[in-house]
Amino acid sequence: MSGFQDVRDVMDISGPSESTPRAPPLKKQKTVEKRPDGITRELFALLGENPPPVAIVENKFKEKPKWMGKANPWEWKDFTNPARTDSLILRHWERKSKEPPDLEYRFSKFDVKVDIPTYSDGEYEILKDLDWSREETDYLFDLCREYDLRFIIIWDRYDFPNGKSRSVEDLKARYYSVCRSLMELRTPLNRMSPEETQIFNMLNFDKERETSRKKMANVLFARTPEQVKEEEMLLAELKRIVTNQQRTLEERKDLFNRLEMPSSQGSIAGYTGSQGLAALREFMVNSSDKNKKRKSIAMGANTGADGSQPSPAVASISEKASTAIAASQKEAIQPKKQARKLSGEEMKEYGVIYHDKLSQGIKFRSSMVATNVKGGTAQKVSQALAQLEIAQRLTMPTSKTIQKYEQLQSNVGILLDTKKLLEKVEQELRVLKAQQDAAKEDT
């Protein structure tokens, strides 16, 4: 803006500037106002709207601080600490104030003591323990008070004259058992408030468990570098497996989808020729491929190949094929006949199994367990199996186990049927006996 004005001044053009509307000068004023000290107007104008790229140091004195009034005086003052039993007078600096000087020392609130119960001679009769003398119990409680229940420190300092050597757990067990008994003694269990009951339950110290826990912690602590390394490696492996699991699952699903082929019953004889293959291809493209885009491309390729005149190579192949079809139909049956019948031992060796009936698609063997028993017995059979703690679904369903399982099922079914029959017969027998007795009495 100002640059424009400079040009005007230089050219000595004054008329039009007056005729300009009032707005521009106003704007100009604004920019001038924004302009910081230490930068010329011309330079500032070149900068335009952007702020200056470097900070401009203003040579100005710091503003005089505004005091709130008079400085607050401090004084070297005596104080006593209510947390002390003697009235030791120490001195510290304090803000001078008109407030009464008997304000409590503000750090006395940190004088926190743990509440350790005390017991009378009468009460001790109930708290007796063969392993602990009264003196030693007193000694323990004194230490608890002195060290605010830091049992590790208490154990560290524990030195009862002519006493046994005690573990941390021994000390804890004794302390908590005394506290628990005392609590129960003073307020019977049924009269305790919920909070008290909670505390009471918390006082239950399981020494055995704690000891074994510490033993295990010790074992963990004393691991050798090799063990530590092995554990680290296993953990890394676990992490890897967990992160890969999702991917593995997806891959597996994909694989299963791929394996779900169209029905493969009937002989493959029809597909040995090129025409047959073309038909199969068309069928597969149409039926199994669910991807529309891929399908359309495949179809396009297909039509391109089919629609045009068959190339000589294709033609010659088809010619050969057509003659071969008749022969192959014969041949296709021939090898089947030639297949060697395997003996039972060989079947076992090669793992060959013949199935009576197989429906199409892929199935898990475990889902193919035939239910030989029917109706109401089936439910009873499964109940009986559950009672015997035999899983409904086998964890390792090999053909052998499936066979055994089926056998078991049918055997159980037979047994149940027999049992039912037996009961029926017995019932009939009883009825008949009763009738007989009645007839005897009558006579």
């Binding site: 020392y105 006395s108 926190v112 004393a222 691991r223």
Partner: protein, 444 residues
């Protein structure tokens, strides 16, 4: 009654934003074997640090015994002045002089009115009850302080690093001590120490010089010197003394010690491992080729200078592996029965509750001027990590050498400037009531 005042409930943690300091102008005194440190509580460095060694000219005829205390006095050459030290094994053994030293440390720079300032002193964890009682007696009877407290230097060093739980490895002049602390209290069963501190390292260096026929001169013996090539004999003019005017042997040794300290600071280095330093097998030993670091030169006060290679590692190895210490001098520790630093740590951790082991190993604090030897903390770190592979080990050592040297004092300074601490002081009234035995009850 003490419980009439309002206190926090026992399950409420104190606020962390609250400022806990309340300075009452207490004096903190940390007497060590090499140095006696004193200063005002709340400050970050002791204002007054004087050598614990003092000069003494015994009474002759009418002349009374003369003491020379402090850096300005003790280094002056005086015929017949013996240098002595009131401490042995980190605790006071000469009760006549120790209080004089303490008083000098305080009055020379801090205040002359001891009766106006509460006094906090530090003590090693193995200080016997008799010594503690003696200390409180001196504080109240001799210094006439209004209040007194005796804090464990291990705990204080932990506080200086901001740790109330941890393992404090203090490498002092007279010994290395390991103090496990928990909640600001020493775990007595885990306290171990062995005499492999700074003086031991000096003795090792001295023994090495003797075995390698390297002449050791002190600064005071040299009047002027000319620069010479490495391994060339010194070209210096030595000071001569008229018969009867020579300084004593103890003075000579004391001054030589300063040269050895220079050597420790500048040339000696701890072998950082892994494992102990390979044994020496003659002039060109395996270690020399193994140590990829080049030698470091050292110049003696008389200008004699040479480069030290594997020897500068060898002199410090005895701290970690006592069997490899040099034994060609009288009064060396027994190489077979003395515990090295790693064995000390092991012995210390053995008696610590399993619950705490993890936490303590995660807070290992190294203090003491002896730990400033190059490579020391790295070696300790490696040794602990190898000894305890399971838990996470974290070794802390202040990078600032002032903080490392005065950690015990600094912790005491922090402690004595806390508002919540002021209820723990033993007051004069309590001392008058219960006698010196109160120190056992109150300073745990």
């Amino acid at each position: 009654m003490s419980h009439l005042h309002q206190t926090l409930s026992s399950n409420q943690a104190p606020s962390t934003v609250e400022y806990g300091g309340d300075e009452i102008s207490a004096i903190v005194l940390d007497p060590g074997t090499a140095w006696t440190r004193a200063g005002f509580a709340g400050e970050d460095t002791p204002k007054s640090v004087i050598p614990s060694d003092y000069g003494v000219i015994d009474a002759v005829g009418d002349e009374p015994r003369k003491l020379f205390i402090g850096d300005n006095d003790v280094h002056a050459i005086r015929p017949g002045m013996e240098i002595r030290n009131p401490m042995s094994d980190g605790i006071v053994s000469d009760w006549d002089t120790a209080p004089l030293l303490w008083r000098a440390a305080i009055t020379s720079r801090l205040t002359t009115t001891l009766a106006e300032h509460p006094l906090l002193m530090t003590e090693p964890s193995w200080n016997p009850p008799k010594n503690r009682e003696k200390t409180i007696e001196i504080a109240f009877e001799d210094f006439d302080v209004p209040a007194f407290y005796l804090a464990k230097s291990g705990v204080c060093a932990g506080f200086a690093s901001g740790k109330a739980t941890g393992l404090v490895i203090d490498v002092g002049a007279s010994n290395i001590s390991i103090t496990p602390i928990h909640d600001g209290l020493v775990l007595r069963k885990g306290c171990t120490r062995s005499p492999l501190g700074g003086s031991f390292l000096s003795d090792q260096i001295r023994a090495y010089f003797a075995s390698a026929a390297i002449p050791l001169t002190a600064h005071y013996q040299v009047l002027s010197k000319n620069a010479v090539e490495a391994w060339k004999p010194a070209d210096a003019v030595y000071k001569t003394f008229a018969p009867g005017q020579e300084p004593t042997d103890s003075y000579k040794r004391f001054q030589e010690e300063r040269v050895l300290t220079e050597f420790k600071e500048y040339t000696a280095q701890v072998w950082t491992g892994p494992g102990p330093l390979p044994p020496s097998t003659g002039a060109h030993d395996a270690a020399t080729s193994l140590l990829s670091t080049t030698g470091r030169p050292f110049e003696f006060p008389d200008g004699y200078n040479l480069v030290f290679n594997s020897e500068r590692h060898r002199v410090a190895e005895g701290i970690f592996h006592p069997p490899s210490m040099l034994t060609n001098y009288a009064g060396h520790p027994d190489p077979s029965s003395t515990l090295g630093l790693n064995a000390l740590i092991h012995a210390s951790m053995k008696d610590v509750d399993i619950e705490l082991k993890q936490l303590i190993l995660n807070n290992v604090v190294i203090t003491g001027a002896g730990s400033l030897v190059y490579g020391f903390t790295d070696r300790v770190n490696a040794e602990i990590a190898a000894a305890f592979p399971g838990p996470r080990v974290r070794v802390m050592a202040a990078g600032n050498s002032v903080e490392r040297r005065y950690a015990g004092w600094l912790g005491g300074s922090i402690l004595a400037s806390l508002g919540a601490f002021h209820q723990l002081w033993i007051s004069r009234k309590e001392y008058d009531e219960h006698g010196a035995g109160i120190v056992e009850k109150r300073c745990k």
